[in-house]
């Protein structure tokens, strides 16, 4: 692909009935509500413009886009004038040319003429428009009053603001308001004195700005511009690819200059993000070039030795021979693998294939174990399929939005912007969360209800909501009768109606005022289209699966599944966690969620792969670690996952890893898990390979290689090398062939291949003969399992209890600028927003303990102890403390216990009983861990070649 900018139609798409008009004599038919500017662009007539762009509502301030309309006096602005039937528009005339030149002259007379050395040279709309209107001289001269002395704001690490280049078109202000919803920018002053400022005249970095870059993308000049464009120059080619951070799955144009990435520009055609992004996807890709990246394979005899760089052949041969030896000595089931939700579908599929076909067992698991495994179990049991029911666009039709255990503005920022837009349009919001997340109150948004429940009481709260809905007669009886298993419903309705489940009865337990809970339940049941969005605050509990089922029960009882604007929507964490689950990464399931004991499904694979498969489920990650400490599990292949940092009870994970004889880690960096590894295989970044990711809406999107892998191989190639060394006959030359195999073996992917993906941009599974174009909304006429299944969800308190020694409840989460264990984001300028993890504590609890803001505190649980600094805030309720887990120095998971979800063993991250005390330094664990980590990262210089 060579470089062309994406076409800008000037104003957003309209949806009305067709209207016919003529533009410069050319007949055109467009939807009612379309602007004249857009209609003209649709027939490739570009009307000059500055303040309009198609991602924003028109504003009509620059007056450059004037046109003539037959039978009307004056010169209407084409961006703000809608088309009308029979309208005859002229876009060019002597008079128009003169008017437009006059406008341009005014702009240019106050604009520095250093175009040749400007960062945006060649990619500047002001330049283009001067050309388009034929501006040849400027009569006003530059000696008059102007703004050429303004001072640059370079505080943001990724972009600069140069007020001298600003034409006050307010596109940035509107982008921040409309697209991002942060409202960080304002036009200060009036008339000639007006200018753009961030928040209360602060620098961008210290303002409310969340660095999403929407303003930079909207800016027609170099007033707001990426620093990389200033450094590297304008791009010369663009490749469309998908973000490798979160489950929103934003697509981008990776704009390149040769082999160098200049910038990531959110793709307007992208169906998940519609041209928007957050700070991570747009800016935080510098880790791909970071000097910490390991580019050569390494080995060592034992984990206390330094690493030795070796050839790929040597490393792969060691992996294969060790794995085979361990199986010979300890049995076929003594080894296993972990697939990565950061890698592509194709790579994940290959890792589980390596385990099932090559290792001959089902010991494969994935990091979804620690996040959304309860979603899989819960939605499969109730609806029949392990995935969310809607596409993101569905939120446009929601009237009531219930957010539970999710923090979308930090975790799923681009979707949060969509949600906020809908809320500003009038949809009602219910937030169920122990913390007052940003969504509860932000500019122009106020939750109708915030139910600040005690961590660990989700099931009690949701069942109390069900109690209200059933006992107050708010059930959608017709829906339940037609769509659901009525016996299961009757049993459930009887259960939830018991007085013990009422909001009043559980108020003391949950901490949620009964009146609020009742009102919220009524709103959910009667407020129109009601959609539930949830995150890890639902799943990462000892009753994670029950909570998912309780959510599904509510949606079925109120008829909120199977159409636009409603549904049960897990906001999935990692970029490809949906995909990793779909691809058969769980020890009990083949791709497409078919149980390994299902002999029909198994025989499909057996025929294709030419082996017989183990019909018994394999070990889950925590079971693998237990088996390791028992001496029964000896070797593991871990691709792109840092279990030591991300999994609960670090001491237990460390003991499990230390008990194994061959730990193979494939990653970009020497992560924490690699401290226990014997072989390290360097990984490739998403920029360096082809494949697909599947986002939280089941949307399969292409990842495209924009540069050669710096480590020599894409990750799928490395897995194939291991497979070859273990005697498997794999012959993939391109990931598209892996997708063809997935499609052949997985009914929900039957219609997926790279040609269709390239042609359609993306597809939401199921894609098959019945739905060749994919399935945006699921369960439309009937549930995948037939009748919707109500499941009785009895509240069972967690075994993790507070008491005199551990009186507070710790819950964990993440923030916008960092990503999970932070391996990538900590290696970018995003650290400017989050240098360290802090412990949020309520002023009351802090005062009782003599803790001041910023003090070092020790955080202790039954599992362990760590130290970090305190942040005093009433965002958390008294009795609750909160921290993030982005930094290895904090090791928040030293604290978390190994209690887990009853059905899936998803760890109970969100509830740990702790004590917090003032402290003056790192805990013993931190000290010894740091020393050990440093020692285990030593790399011996390579031996010189003979």
């Amino acid at each position: 692909m060579t470089f062309t900018r994406e076409k800008d139609f000037g104003t957003p798409e309209a949806m009305g009935a067709a209207v016919s008009l003529t533009i410069d004599g050319q007949e055109v038919s467009v939807p009612a509500g379309t602007s004249i500017m857009r209609a003209a662009a649709m027939v490739d007539t570009a009307i000059p413009k500055l303040c309009a762009t198609d991602s924003l509502e028109s504003f009509g301030s620059c007056r450059l886009c004037l046109v003539e309309v037959e039978g009307r006096s004056g010169y209407p602005a084409s961006c703000t004038t809608p088309v009308a039937p029979g309208m005859a528009v002229r876009t060019q005339s002597d008079r128009l040319r003169k008017l437009r030149r006059g406008v341009m002259e005014l702009y240019i007379s106050d604009h520095p003429l250093d175009c040749l050395t400007c960062g945006a040279n060649g990619d500047c709309e002001l330049q283009d428009m001067a050309g388009a209107v034929g501006l040849r001289d400027v009569r006003f001269g530059y000696e008059g009053e102007n703004h050429l002395e303004g001072c640059k704001d370079e505080s943001n690490p990724y972009f600069t603001f140069d007020p001298t280049k600003c034409i006050v078109c307010s596109r940035c202000v509107r982008a921040c308001d409309e697209t991002q919803g942060t409202l960080a920018l304002t036009v200060d002053g009036r008339g000639f004195a007006s200018g753009i400022s961030a928040s209360q005249d602060e620098s961008f970095l210290s303002s409310e700005c969340v660095s999403c870059g929407a303003c930079v993308q909207a800016c027609p000049t170099s007033a707001l511009i990426e620093k990389t464009v200033i450094e590297i120059g304008t791009p010369d080619r663009a490749v469309v690819t998908t973000c490798a951070y979160c489950g929103v799955g934003c697509t981008f144009r990776a704009e390149m200059r040769g082999e160098e990435l200049v910038r990531m520009v959110p793709w307007k055609e992208g169906k998940a993000n519609h041209g928007h992004s957050c700070v991570k996807g747009r800016f935080a890709w510098g880790y791909a070039q970071h000097r910490d990246r390991i580019l050569n394979p390494m080995m060592r005899g034992s984990v206390d030795e330094p690493w030795r760089e070796v050839s790929w052949e040597a490393a792969i041969a060691r992996v294969a021979s060790e794995f085979r030896r361990l199986q010979k000595e300890h049995g076929a089931r003594a080894i296993g693998g972990i697939t990565s939700s950061r890698c592509t579908n194709e790579e994940t599929f290959l890792v589980q294939k390596l385990v099932r076909q090559g290792f001959g067992n089902n010991n494969v698991d994935t990091c979804a174990r620690v996040c959304h495994s309860p979603t899989g179990y819960g939605l499969k049991t109730t609806f029949g399929t392990s995935a969310g029911t809607q596409d993101f666009d569905s939120v446009r039709h929601a009237d009531v939005i219930l957010v539970i255990g999710a923090n979308p503005t930090d975790g799923h920022p681009v979707f949060a912007s969509r949600m906020k837009k809908r809320l500003r349009e009038g949809a009602k919001l219910i937030v169920v969360d122990p913390r007052r997340i940003d969504m509860v109150r932000s500019p122009h948004i106020e939750a109708a209800f915030h139910l600040p429940l005690r961590p660990g009481t989700n099931v009690a709260v949701l069942t109390a909501m069900a109690h209200v809905i059933v006992t107050e007669g708010l059930v959608n009886e017709t829906y339940v009768r037609e769509r659901c298993d009525t016996d299961a419903y009757a049993e459930w309705a009887e259960f939830v109606s018991e007085p013990a489940r009422s909001p009043e009865a559980v108020e003391d337990l949950t901490g949620v005022p009964a009146a609020d809970l009742r009102a919220a339940a009524r709103l959910y049941a009667t407020g129109g289209n009601a959609a539930i969005y949830y995150g890890l605050g639902v799943t990462e509990h000892s009753q994670g699966s029950s909570t998912v089922m309780a959510i599904a029960n509510l949606a079925m009882a109120t008829g909120n599944v199977g159409k636009d604007g409603v549904g049960v929507n897990p906001l999935r964490g990692q970029n490809n966690v949906q995909g990793a689950c779909d691809m058969g990464s769980f020890p009990h399931e083949l791709s497409g969620y078919r149980h390994v004991s299902d002999s029909a499904a198994r025989s499909l694979f057996e025929r294709d792969w030419g082996v017989s498969l183990d019909p018994e489920p394999g070990l889950r990650i925590p079971n693998m670690l237990d088996a390791a400490t028992d001496g029964a599990f000896k070797g593991i292949f871990i691709q792109g996952e840092d279990i030591l940092q991300s999994d609960p009870n670090t001491t237990h994970v460390a003991a499990g890893l230390a008990a194994m004889e061959c730990v193979v880690v494939q990653d970009l960096f020497l992560n924490e898990t690699a401290n226990y590894a014997h072989v390290f295989l360097p990984g490739s970044t998403f920029l360096e390979k082809d494949g697909t990711f599947t986002n939280a809406e089941r949307r399969i999107q292409r990842v495209r290689k924009v540069m050669e892998p710096k480590n020599g191989y894409a990750d799928w190639e490395v897995v194939q090398l291991v497979a070859h060394a273990m005697g498997l006959d794999w012959n993939y030359t391109h990931p598209s062939q892996i997708m063809d195999e997935i499609a052949r073996l997985t009914p929900t992917f039957a219609g997926v291949n790279y040609a269709v993906l390239d042609q359609r941009g993306s597809l939401q599974w199921p894609v098959n003969a019945a739905a060749p174009e994919g399935t945006p909304t699921m369960h439309i006429d009937h549930f995948v399992r037939g009748k919707g299944n109500f499941v009785v969800t009895d509240y069972v308190p967690t075994d993790e209890r507070t008491g005199p020694r551990f009186p507070l409840l710790l819950t964990t989460g993440r923030i916008l600028s960092q990503y999970n264990v932070g391996a990538q984001t900590r290696r970018t300028a995003n650290v400017e927003w989050h240098e360290e993890d802090r412990l949020e504590i309520h002023p009351h609890d802090a005062e009782n303990r003599g803790i001041r803001d910023g003090n070092w505190v020790s955080l202790r649980s039954r599992a362990g102890e760590t130290t970090l600094r305190a942040k005093i805030t009433d965002r958390v309720a008294p009795g609750v403390v909160y921290t993030t887990f982005h930094h290895p120095d904090t090791q928040a998971n030293v604290i978390t216990t190994d209690f887990s979800d009853w059905a899936t063993n998803c760890p109970e991250y969100k509830v740990t009983a702790v004590q917090v005390m003032p402290s003056n330094g790192p805990s013993d664990w931190q000290r010894s861990y740091r020393a050990q980590a440093e020692a285990s990262r030593r790399i011996e210089p390579a031996e010189p070649a003979e």
Binding site: R333, N362, N363, F495, S542, Q543, S546, P587, H588, H595, S597, P615, E616, P617, G618, L619, R620, N623, D626, A627, T629, D630, A632, H652, V792, D794, V796, D799, A863, D898, S900, W902, A903, T904, N905
Partner: protein, 73 residues
């Protein structure tokens, strides 16, 4: 911290409690089915072996659920 055996018993107990609203016998059957579907062979084998060990502390329902397991291949 729990031993690995204690952890198996604890997990089974947790599953039982989540099925308890269905009634005792149903909960035991549902738990046995859950273990069959989701526990790896060595975990099931260990559960069955514990039935015979005098020292194993098995709550009654957990014992019943373990007893309903078949030996994995």
């Amino acid at each position: 911290m729990m031993s690995n055996d204690q952890r198996l018993v604890h997990m089974a107990g947790q599953i039982l409690r989540n099925f308890a609203a269905q009634g005792r016998e149903e909960a035991i059957a549902a738990t046995a089915e859950h273990l069959t579907l989701f526990w790896a062979p060595r975990m099931k084998a260990r559960a069955i072996a514990m039935l015979e060990e005098p020292g194993a502390e098995l709550p009654e329902e957990v014992r019943a659920a373990f007893a309903a397991l078949r030996h994995p291949a």
